[in-house]
Amino acid sequence: LTQQALRTLSHEHQEVLRLVFYEELPYEEIAMLLSIPTNTVKTRVYYAKQRLKHQLKELGQGERV
């Protein structure tokens, strides 16, 4: 289910989620890797997480129906 929900996210969102939660990199490093400001990293991760949570909820409801 998580994998399915992840696939619906944009490449950028999938990327930051992987870098933070799987690779466990500091935000400064992610900012450097992606050549974006640190604040953008923080907000991108926040929105990616929100989006994933939303998708998981939708997929979960779809399965229950």
């Binding site: 992840l6 992987r18 939660f21 907000t43 997480k49």
Partner: protein, 222 residues
């Protein structure tokens, strides 16, 4: 996709640091700041719980993907290794005829050839030996005698004027050989084949008849 630099959600600035608070990469001062905030903010504690749950789920997904990609990588590497060794075996540098020669030479070492080659060599060697033996002329032959071969020993004194060639001719005529001598009085011990006493006497008579070359002949008694 472009995210705004500031969050438009009712989230605290410390809330934006929660993912890194979770993965333990915040600076000490940031971590303390988040700790302090969490102690008084239920919303951020709930958010942290969600993030922790998400982290577990993402680890499952990415962990499985990594294993799959590692397996693929191993399989690809193994295939590449095979291809490279196969290519290396084929692409021997040098001209075509040299490769052919090399292939032929290597084929000699294929096990099924080895016994056949060994037998062929043995037969060839045996043939060569037999051929060289049968080709020996009588003059080349070395007269050999073995134990039990009936011979008689004669004490022969040659004339002073007898040449070496005459002596040799005499010895060859009797199929004999010099086995000892010359002694202090110039005698040689000659061994000649003789089946019995009569044959021995015949040899003695022959030698004695050669008065030009032979002075005395006496059978040696053992």
């Amino acid at each position: 996709m472009v995210e705004p630099d500031t969050l438009d959600q009712p989230i605290h600035p410390e809330g934006a640091l929660l993912p890194w608070y979770l993965n333990g990469t915040l600076r000490e001062d940031e971590r303390r700041q988040v700790d302090q905030h969490l102690s008084s903010c239920a919303a951020c504690r709930a958010e942290l719980d969600e993030l922790a749950q998400l982290k577990v789920q993402l680890h499952e997904v990415y962990g499985a993907q990594s294993e799959a990609s590692a397996q693929t990588q191993r399989a690809v590497l193994a295939q590449v290794k095979l291809d490279v060794s196969a290519k290396r075996a084929k692409s021997v540098t040098g001209p075509q005829w040299l490769n052919g020669l090399d292939d032929w030479f290597q084929s000699l070492f294929v096990p099924r050839w080895a016994p056949a080659l060994a037998v062929t060599l043995l037969v060839a060697q045996l043939g060569l030996l037999l051929w060289s033996v049968t080709r020996l002329t009588p003059s080349d032959q070395v007269i050999t005698r073995w134990l039990g071969s009936p011979t008689v020993r004669l004490r022969v004194v040659f004339q002073e004027a007898t040449s070496e060639r005459q002596i040799r001719s005499l010895i060859q005529g009797l199929h004999g050989r010099i086995v000892d001598g010359p002694t202090s009085d110039g005698a040689y011990i000659m061994e000649v084949p003789a089946g019995d006493q009569a044959a021995a006497q015949k040899k003695v008579d022959i030698l004695r008849s050669q008065t030009e070359s032979v002075r005395t002949v006496e059978p040696v008694t053992p």
